[in-house]
């Protein structure tokens, strides 16, 4: 009985010392993961995931506060990537916003009054133009987040879905193996 106690005490004290020491010695600070996650996110900065931009969402995921299936622009693809990165099971899209076809904003120069409101809204500075001047959107920079639509007082901004043309056309996945049973 007594010997038993001594044995276990000895054992646990040794361990306790090792662990207690290790706990301090190997403390880690910061989380390198956020960068990795952020790199996977589409950077549309649209906030549809319920976070103000992609980075915050990345942080939320890294902290485990947020699920991996909330980014519409990322699409299924993105969820799969995150699942792989984090070594968790893939799960279908869980957010409420639905993904849209890719689009870029287009400002109707005739109506634009140059109020600069959209400029302040655009998260990636894709809109150029100064006060009282007609604004234009650099299509190549626009992420299609639509954040510039609400503020425009004269509703001169429209979203053009990018139509399929020779440049962006893609080969289709060939469907093989007759799926329906013929017999």
């Amino acid at each position: 009985m007594i010997s038993a106690l001594w044995v276990m005490i000895a054992l646990s004290v040794i361990l306790g010392i090792v662990l207690g020491y290790a706990a301090i010695r190997f403390k880690i600070e910061g989380n390198p993961l956020v960068e990795k996650i952020d790199a996977v996110l589409p950077q549309t900065q649209c906030g549809q995931c319920g976070h103000p931009g992609c980075k915050p969402y990345a942080e939320a995921i890294a902290k485990g506060e947020s699920d991996i299936n909330l980014c519409p622009p990322g699409g299924d693809e993105g969820i799969h990537k995150l699942a792989d990165l984090l070594g968790v099971e893939y799960k279908p899209f869980g957010g409420d916003a639905k993904p849209k076809a890719k689009a870029v904003a287009f400002i109707d120069e005739q109506t634009c009054i140059g109020c600069t409101l959209c400029i302040q809204a655009c998260p990636v500075d894709a809109i150029v133009g100064a006060a009282k001047q007609m604004h234009t959107i650099i299509a190549s920079e626009c992420t299609g987040c639509e954040l510039c639509l609400p503020p425009c007082p004269v509703d001169c901004i429209s979203m053009d879905t990018i139509a399929e043309n020779i440049n962006n056309w893609k080969w289709q996945h060939p469907v093989i193996i007759p799926v329906r049973a013929v017999a």
């Binding site: 044995v7 276990m8 054992l11 646990s12 361990l15 290790a22 792989d84």
Partner: protein
């Protein structure tokens, strides 16, 4: 010498800890989705397992002895838990990536049956120190080998036209079953 060799062969192939002894299945199932991951997990487990079978030998022979035998499980598992926790901290510090992937499974090494099972088997077969170490090491290598091969097959199966209800865990289980069927071929190699 041959005795030692037989222990290694025995633990790695004939009595493979996962396929034949059916131990350590949770990590075997959980961490075998990707080749790299399974390799990392295998390495970590090997480290812990070898260490703990050594430690447990010392404990059971120098601390416990026959009359405190009833403390075996308790003392072993505490020691193991300590070793694992230590390993976890070290990995967390040294390679965050590996830590990320191994994620929940590192603490679960503690609960990897093999990690307690092998020391207990060591006691049962009253191995000496070297034998215990080899037994632990061999078992871990066997575990890693099985898991890595399994991961290979699972990666290849990803593209397959598996029936919906069998996708994922179900077909993985069946694959493990067929693997252990194959491993029965080693039966009787080391009597």
């Amino acid at each position: 010498m041959t005795n030692y060799l037989l222990i290694i062969i025995g633990t790695v192939f004939v009595n493979n800890i996962v396929m034949v002894k059916i131990l350590g299945l949770c990590p075997f199932m959980g961490v075998s989705r990707k080749l790299e991951t399974s390799l990392g997990m295998g390495a970590a487990t090997t480290f812990v397992l070898t260490l703990s079978s050594g430690a447990s030998y010392l404990i059971s022979h120098y601390l416990l002895g026959p009359d405190l035998a009833y403390l075996t499980t308790l003392s072993f598992i505490v020691a193991i838990a300590g070793i694992v926790q230590f390993t976890e901290m070290v990995i967390k510090k040294t390679s965050p990536d590996l830590y990320q992937v191994l994620g929940i499974y590192l603490p679960l090494i503690t609960t990897n049956c093999a990690v307690l099972g092998i020391p207990l088997l060591n006691v049962q077969a009253n191995h000496n120190f070297i034998e215990s170490l080899l037994f632990g090491f061999g078992g871990a290598v066997g575990f890693t080998m099985a898991m890595v091969l399994f991961a290979g097959i699972r990666e290849r199966m990803e593209g397959a036209d598996t029936p919906a209800i069998f996708k994922g865990a179900a077909i993985a289980m069946i694959t493990a079953g067929l693997m252990s069927l194959a491993f029965m071929g080693f039966a009787g190699l080391v009597k």
